[in-house]
Structure formats: C-alpha cells, structure tokens
Point group: C7
Chain length 70, copies 7
C-alpha cells in the first residue's frame, strides 16, 4: 500500500484535513492528486474554534496540509 492509496479508500467519505496555521476542514473527499491537492464537498472550516460552512466544492492546496484522517 502506498500513502495515496489511503486517499483512494477515503474517496466520497468524510475526512478531517489539518492545515498549517491552525486551520482545519471536515468534508467529503471528492478528488485528490499526487500533490495532495484535495476537493472537499459539504465542507466545514474550523479556525480557532470558529466553524464556517463552505458549500459547494472546495479545492484545498496540498502544500498547506499537515495530515488527512478519517
């Protein structure tokens, strides 16, 4: 198994994405590429415990990501 295979298994499931700078997202993983750029749908963004809904498809840039977990 390679790390990106884990993302393949998480497709269309909810994931937690922790970002540099204290930001995180929860949303359904709709797409990813080898740079770990992600597309999330039905996402919520959390910054300093403030939750903001992000309707539609959000493209998150891979180089700001620290980890992705279910």
């Amino acid at each position: 198994m390679r790390p990106l295979d884990v993302l393949q298994q998480s497709l269309h499931k909810r994931v937690l994405v922790e970002m540099k700078g204290g930001r995180s997202y929860r949303g359904v993983l709709d797409a990813f590429d080898q740079h770990l750029n992600l597309v999330l749908s039905s996402a919520e963004e959390v910054v300093k415990e403030v939750v903001t809904a992000r309707p539609g498809l959000t493209l998150v840039r891979g180089d700001s990501i620290i980890y992705i977990s279910p």
Copy 2:
C-alpha cells in the same frame, strides 16, 4: 474527477480565494494553470476586514493560496 477539474467548472464564476497571511479575494475566475496561478476579474481583496476593489484582471500566484471555493 481531478482537483483542477473543479477549477474548470468554476471558470467565469465567482470564487473565494483564501491566501496565506490573512488575505482573501472574491472575484470571477477567468483563468488558471497547473500551479494554481489564477486570474480574477472584478475582484475584491479583503485584509483584516478591509475591502479593496481590484478592477481589471488580477493575477494571483498559486503558491500563496490555501483554498479556492465557490
């Protein structure tokens, strides 16, 4: 679907672009490339809740972008 396909779907529509350093843009996505360099038209820039209009075409460098959402 690949992450850049989401940008293709957002072409000529308004997007929110969150940048590193507390800066964000709202504008119409007129172009993008594989580095996530973007061209926005009719853009507004928001820095610390101060909104500045950016008339004309603004080229935003991809490596400062955290996420792009509708």
Copy 3:
C-alpha cells in the same frame, strides 16, 4: 543501507513522528513513499502535551516531518 530502508524495517511497527510546529504522532507505520508521506494506524497526536486519538488511517504529509524514530 539507505534512509528509506529504515522505514521499510519499521513497517507495521509503532513509530514516533515529530512534526514542525510542535506536533507529534505515535502510531503504526502502514505505508510510506519517497517524499516521506506516511500512513499511520492507531495513531495518537500530541500537541502541547494534549493527546488526541486518531482512529483509522492517518496520512501525514512528508514535508512537515522532522524525524521518525521507533
């Protein structure tokens, strides 16, 4: 021996992963690639001495990693 051979030997064993920004993980190493992207299972995250369980498979991005040890 090459550095990645050490990761090969640690597969399916518990490792400590120290990250930039004062974050660390303990978990079972289930996968890795040449960028040091890792997959951990049964992981615990430690930030400022607060421990959070991360059930399921966690994908940790290699470029935030400082070191990996048993």
Copy 4:
C-alpha cells in the same frame, strides 16, 4: 486564456505588484518570465506607507510576489 497571458496584455503598462512581507511596487511592466520574475521601469516601492522611487529597471523575483494587478 492562461494566467501568463494576462501579463502579456499588461506589458508596457503600469501594474501594482503586491509582495510577501508588506512590500509593494507600482511600475511599468517591461518583461516577465514563467517564474513570474518581473522587470519594472519607473517603479515606486511602498513599504509601510513610505514611498521610494526606484529609477532604472528593477528585477523583482517571482517567488516573493502575491499578486499582480493593473
């Protein structure tokens, strides 16, 4: 249209270049390359609201640029 086409359209026109670290330039765009390295003529530099004239041709390194607008 690709993002660099916007720079092609801005050649020999005045642009605003916002840099990381709170620095910005206004000047005539005389050249650019694919790294967004720029050459500005008749440039003014603004740092913390202090304006300094930069006569001659100024080469601005692309990786410090956040955005370029008319």
Copy 5:
C-alpha cells in the same frame, strides 16, 4: 571531494546534526542519501538543553538540517 563524500567518511561515526528550530542530534551516522536524509543510531536529541535518548534508528529529514559535523 564533493560535500556528500564527507558524509561517506563519517559513516558509522558519531556526528552532530544541527536542525532548524533550535533542535540538535548526536548519534552514529548509519545511512544518508542525496537529500541529506540521515539515519542515526544511539542518538540523543537536544532541545533547549534538554537531552532525550532516541534508541533504535532515527530517520532525520534532510530539509530541516542546517549542518552536520563530527
């Protein structure tokens, strides 16, 4: 002589590895690659004058390294 030849000469000898962020390691250099990823055995980690033993093989990511000396 090329810089990596120095690492070749230090193989299986104790080295001091100074890291970004005020962290350093002392340990036996067991492996390295062209990115300066290192494997140390019998390592001690020093952060703010606190020494922690790191038994087993520690993989240190090259891009956090400032210098390596005997």
Copy 6:
C-alpha cells in the same frame, strides 16, 4: 526582453540587492545565473542601517533575493 536580460545589462555596474529579512547589498554585479545567484564585488552590506564593507567577491544566494535594481 526577458528578466535575466536586465541583469546582463547591469553586468559590471553597481546594483542594489534587497534581501529577505531586512538585509541589502550594494556592489558591482560581476556574475549571475538563472537562479539569480549573484556575485558582487566592492560590496557593502546594510542591516538595520549598519553598513559593513564586504571586500573581495561575495556570492549571494538567489532564493533570499527580493529585487535587484540599479
């Protein structure tokens, strides 16, 4: 004209090199490469308004450079 052509025109002339971190150099540009690594002769370094002469040839690493101007 390409951005590096401007450096070609500045060869053997005095330039101002503004660096990240509040450091700048004035000196004669004796060489450069495509990474914007520069060689300056008869250089003066300015850090927080303190000027230090740098006799001989100084090699400045391109990735710390913000801009180069006459």
Copy 7:
C-alpha cells in the same frame, strides 16, 4: 564567469558564510556542490556573538545560506 566559479576560486581559502537565522561560519572551504552545500574545515560558528569551534569537516546545507564571502 558564473557564480559557482567564485567558489572554485575560494577553494582551500577561508570564507565567511552567513546563514538564515542569525548564524554564521568562518572556515576553510574544502568542497561545494551546485546546491551550495559546503564543506568547511577549521570552522568557527558564530551565533549571537558566541563563537564555537567546529573541528573536523563541517557540512553546511546550501539552502540555509544567504551569502558566502572571502
């Protein structure tokens, strides 16, 4: 002349190496590569005006270097 030619001329001579983060080295340049990784012998490290001798061969990673001068 190319920038790395200056390093060739400095081989086996004492150089000053200024690093990011307020660290500098003085030592004899024994080797270098195209990434500006350097090997210094008989080196002294200076951090906040505290001088530490670094006997033996010190490998300094190029990406932390700001400039190298005689």
